[in-house]
């Protein structure tokens, strides 16, 4: 798949440098993410897809339908450059774009409607993030709405907070932390 994205961007040289970079970065992250969650069956499928790519590359027209448009075409520029400090994740694509692809380090707050401690931690997290004055973002994931995503990140109990930078999980904790401990956690994420 890595080879596929790389090859594709080379073939479509007309794309501007920034988009190309985010393509490959996104592809890399998607690939890394995919590998963590691959089952044996999926692994068997991988060679098949790469080989069908190479046959399509040989032909003059690269079939667009082969790739899922959602994965390769980025959202419009204004969207990607919008800097929201704290936001609710809408779907998988939104997560990829605003969390994995984020220029800022991100705190991911996995929470649930039925979770009492989450309601205590939530405002504390907002406070800690606000103190950083735009140096860190917070993505809120309702695990009932985004169960697959939560499972993918190994969430079992809530609240679970994951600190992410450049698409990599740097740190995480489960349960409530007090303001001091939270400030220290967030500073660590921003500092390095």
């Amino acid at each position: 798949m890595w080879a596929f994205y790389n090859g594709r961007t080379q073939a479509r040289g007309k794309r501007e440098g920034r988009r190309r970079q985010s393509h490959t970065e996104m592809a890399h992250r998607l690939l890394v993410r995919r590998i963590w969650t691959l089952s044996v069956k999926d692994l068997r499928c991988l060679p098949a897809s790469t080989s069908s790519f190479s046959t399509s590359m040989r032909s003059s027209t690269t079939p667009l339908s082969f790739i899922s448009p959602k994965r390769t075409l980025p959202r419009s520029l204004p969207h990607t450059s919008r800097r929201e400090v704290s936001f609710n994740v809408q779907d998988h694509e939104d997560f990829t774009e605003r969390v994995i692809n984020s220029d800022l380090p991100v705190l991911i707050d996995f929470h649930a409607q039925w979770c009492g401690p989450c309601k205590i931690l939530g405002p504390r997290l907002e406070k800690a993030v606000a103190k950083q004055k735009g140096k860190v973002a917070m993505a809120k994931v309702d695990i009932d709405d985004h169960t697959d995503l939560a499972i993918e990140y190994g969430v079992s109990a809530v609240p679970t907070v994951i600190a992410m930078r450049g698409g990599d999980v740097i740190d995480q904790f489960v349960g409530i932390k007090d303001d001091e401990a939270l400030d220290s956690f967030v500073s660590k994420l921003v500092g390095q």
């Binding site: 089952s39 068997r44 649930a112 409607q113 979770c115 695990i143 169960t147 079992s156 809530v158």
Partner: protein, 512 residues
Amino acid sequence: MAALCRVRHRWKRTNCIQLLTRNLTGTFDYDLVVIGGGSGGLACSKEAAQLGQKVAVLDYVEPSVKGTKWGIGGTCVNVGCIPKKLMHQAALLGTALKDAQKYGWQIPGPISHDWSTMAEAVQNHVRSLNWGHRVQLQDKEVKYLNVKGSLVDEHTVKGLTRTGKEIMLTAKNIVIATGGRPKYPTHIPGAVEHGITSDDIFWLKESPGKTLVVGASYVALECAGFLTGIGLATTVMVRSIPLRGFDQQMAGLVTDYMEAYGTKFTWRSVPKSVDKLSSGALQVTWTDEQTGKDQRDTFDSVLWAVGRAPETKTLGLEKVAVKLNKESGKILVAADESTSVPNIYAFGDIGEGRPELTPTAIKAGKLLARRLAGQTNELMNYDNVATTVFTPLEYGCVGLSEEEAESRHGKDSIEVYHAFYKPLEFTVAERDASQCYIKVVCKRGGDQRILGLHFTGPNAGEVTQGFAMGFQCGATLTHLKETVGIHPTCAEELTKVNVSKRSGLDATVTGC
């Protein structure tokens, strides 16, 4: 001739694909595919995975007519046992609040109940259970697919996603545990358009208001019970008898209590039509079978509790010739849960003749998984299963009803011991205990083996569970009499039972 060629070609093609899949992997995609992620399906799949099998569970909730849907866990977790018991508890707390004043609690002003607060709390708990199940499946390495499963052939299952995408899975063994859904009386005009079922009641965001519950099953009585308990004007419309299949004397006590408690009963009545008025209220017309006359009343909601139907129509069972019971539509199963097709099994509510209970589905599922993994030959024992009906006055029982015992052994061969007792807590609260009753049906002569045990009273489920173990061990009346009671409890009255029906003596328990 052309048709034959086509059929042969299709057979060849599907067989080829299967052979291809098998040759590529050397085996099937999965050792076990379970269709249905309810009490039974989840227990079976998790047990199988723990025993080293490669398992996938397919769960999909077809939204109700009203559009209600829910997460993984099946009927029990989402629209059955769990929300039912929580709402029953809400109703009991209302009664307790009323009793509290007699016990000295200073409660200022009248007490009212807010449906939305209760519903949200109950729904949140159910959601936490959905999540818990997902985590468990992940931990136990069971592949979960939110797809509607159906059979293509003996080893192939097709899964349809919500968006219409198809996936195919092959499996060595297939288990069907899709359970049932409430029936709508489709022949009654307005029934489908304006009525709701137990699939909807627990997920309503707003109070159902003045409700008509049609039916006299435990679903109908339990729902009517908690609706009355939280202060809603509730009517139960019964066609013939309450709690069919249960001991009828006990059923009568349950409904007597409910009537005294505030639930209206319309006996021997059959609904004719449901119309929506301009006010939004529902006008129900029914026939009083005793007078032959039609009656009419308006309600805010109509809850149909007229039986459940198995989820077999969309399973593709005809493709593999899995035999069904023509009347019930349930899958015919053997003692080891096998169907007419060697590697396809079915259990839980979907199995013909099986109790529609969570604990039996869970146990049967686990044993099936163990048998399929070659770990045991043990079959599920469906006898002596204790149950409880969570009506305002709860009814717990294990074993045979009096009628069933009479029919099997003859009236002269059984001895029925009984007692009317009063829970201590009712005394100060000045509550009527006329329907608090115990009945022990025994074999006559010798140690008098217990054939059936029945109890109406508070916490009937908790009381009955312990006695169910004794029953399982073959308890006799002698055993019961040799057991010293715990005092003061309602349960101890079971150990003190000594007046037989045959004697005709007064069975009311006097003070200690």
